[in-house]
């Protein structure tokens, strides 16, 4: 089992006491593609980040089990965590504009990631960087390696991020809204690229998004989160037969090209979804 989470709870201190951001979440992941879907504040990013223990220091995380490839993440020391973060589990964030170093060329950043995780000479790392850029389907990798982040488009920047994450050959890739800042065409290209790389390298993937239909195209399973809990987990192919009213609501409130609607369905939130 690559990732195993049992009864995860993440709390934040507030003036009125501890507030639950994530409650009673259990998930397992092998070499497969799992989507986590939910709206802002549903706890999807916190859940994924807890696997790398990348939460703010004031967050209180408890779990019956929280392991990455058998390593107890909650009890691991910083050195062990460093051997997981980036090396064995990569994280791709939403906006490459904020994740890339603006004063380093794309190639130099990828080469740096390569040397940190794998060592080797500058020359070897530079060649590896160009090879990685080619793997993320950049047509002219040698030119892009010389470019600074502001000279790259959003889609290109995200490809550079993916290339950097692939450098250490990780077993798990966590993609947190990797395409929300991109337009539909580029979005599809990037997600197909991620899916293709994950399948070819036999990695596990956690794809976080608020777009349920989109995620279902690229994942095997989808966990739907609402207010810190997983309200439904289903196979991506069974999405149309989703039972929970929240999952159904997420699908029904989307405008569609296939037929004309005068008004869009609006989600009627039921307090019982919050659970006990």
């Amino acid at each position: 089992m690559l990732v195993e989470i049992q009864n995860l709870r993440i709390q934040f201190p507030t003036p009125t006491g501890l507030s639950d951001a994530v409650r009673n979440v259990s998930l397992t992941l092998q070499q497969e593609k799992l989507g986590i879907v939910g709206e802002s504040g549903s706890g999807k990013s916190l859940t994924a980040r807890s696997i790398l223990r990348l939460l703010p220091s004031y967050a209180i995380t408890t779990a019956d089990t929280l392991t990455f490839d058998g390593i107890d993440v909650l009890r691991a020391n910083e050195a062990t965590l460093r051997s997981i973060r980036g090396t064995r589990a990569g994280l791709i964030l939403q906006d490459p504009k904020y994740s890339l170093n603006p004063v380093m060329t794309a190639g130099a950043q990828i080469a740096e990631a390569w040397r940190v995780h794998r060592g080797g000479s500058r020359k070897v790392a530079e060649k590896a960087a160009i090879d990685l850029l080619a793997q993320v389907q950049i047509r002219d990798p040698a030119r892009v390696a010389q470019a600074y982040p502001h000279e790259l488009s959003g889609g290109m920047g995200q490809r550079v991020m993916i290339a950097m994450m692939l450098a250490p050959d990780p077993e798990l890739l966590i993609a947190d809204e990797p395409t929300s800042a991109l337009d539909a065409t580029v979005q599809a290209e990037i997600l197909r690229l991620i899916e293709d790389l994950v399948s070819r390298r036999g990695m596990g993937l956690i794809l976080i998004s608020h777009d349920l239909p989109l995620v279902s195209h690229f994942c095997d399973r989808v966990a739907v989160m609402y207010a810190g809990r997983i309200v439904e987990e289903l196979r991506a192919s069974e999405l149309t037969s989703a039972r929970h009213p929240y999952t159904r609501g997420l699908l029904e409130c989307l405008p569609t090209l296939s037929h004309k609607q005068t008004r869009l369905a609006v989600m009627q939130r039921d307090p019982s979804w919050l659970g006990e």
Partner: protein
């Protein structure tokens, strides 16, 4: 209401908008779709007066527009941006944000107008004295829409107004925009890369690619697949494929 003819916008050597022409009738919604960099937002910025460096003919309600606009224009034509957090002043309360257009345009009855605007965008009166960071993304976008409505405009220019929002909130904001249009007889120009959103709100749609308006068609024709240009067909195909919740992976979408 709005007539754009042979609009060109250049940034140094790059021609960002090439010979774009379209007309929008009073009370109509017109949509511009295209990928990033296709020039759709640049058209909107030239129309709104945010970019004065363009050539061509822009007529709004019978008046030929010069690159620099008068005060009355800025009252009648308002804009709503993609990211409400970036477009609302972080140190101003909602009350202050909403009263500013009224002060600028010397309008009376500030108290009554603010309460009416909050009510119109379905925000509760408590929101009035909050700061933008104390609101959710959907509430912020409602404030941005309320602010655009304060000066009683006739035209709203909407630049990706829902792409930063959750899908459930997007539905609420889109419903709000159609209600407001009906109630106030507003004319909309909506820019988005999401075909489904544009087809939902707009009757007629212009498709942009590489700075050119490659096709003008009705939302019904787009839904039915009666497209003439290959780029429109490709965008439509991708949009339909991605919105269907199925497990099948994408059959090769090739970028043209």
């Amino acid at each position: 209401m709005i007539e754009v003819a042979a609009l060109h916008v250049r940034f140094a050597e790059i021609e960002a908008v090439k010979d774009v022409s379209f007309e929008v009738a009073r009370g109509e919604s017109f949509g511009l779709v295209g990928e990033s960099g296709s020039g759709k937002s640049t058209v909107l910025r030239a129309l709104s007066g945010l970019n004065a460096d363009w050539t061509g003919r822009v007529v709004i309600d019978g008046d030929i527009m010069a690159p620099r606009r008068g005060k009355d224009f800025h009252r009648r034509v308002q804009m709503v941006f993609q990211d409400p957090y970036g477009s609302l002043h972080p140190r101003q309360t909602v009350d202050r944000l909403l009263s500013e257009p009224l002060l600028v345009h010397r309008m009376d009855n500030i108290e009554r107008r603010i309460m009416r605007a909050l009510n119109e965008v379905a925000l509760s009166p408590e929101v009035r004295f909050r700061y933008p960071h104390q609101l959710s993304g959907g509430q912020r976008q409602r404030v941005a829409i309320a602010r655009a409505l304060m000066a009683e405009p006739e035209v709203l220019l909407l630049d990706e107004p829902t792409s930063a929002l959750d899908v459930s909130v997007q539905a609420e904001v889109l419903n709000l925009l159609s209600d407001l249009q009906q109630a106030r007889g507003l004319t909309y120009i909506l820019v988005s890369h999401n075909l489904a959103v544009v087809a939902h709100l707009c009757d007629r749609i212009g498709v942009m690619q590489g700075g050119e308006l490659v096709e003008l068609l009705s939302a019904d024709d787009l839904r039915a697949g009666r497209t003439k240009h290959a780029h429109t067909a490709a965008l439509r195909e991708l949009s339909i494929e991605l919105e269907e919740p199925e497990a099948e992976t994408l059959s090769g979408f090739q970028r043209k």
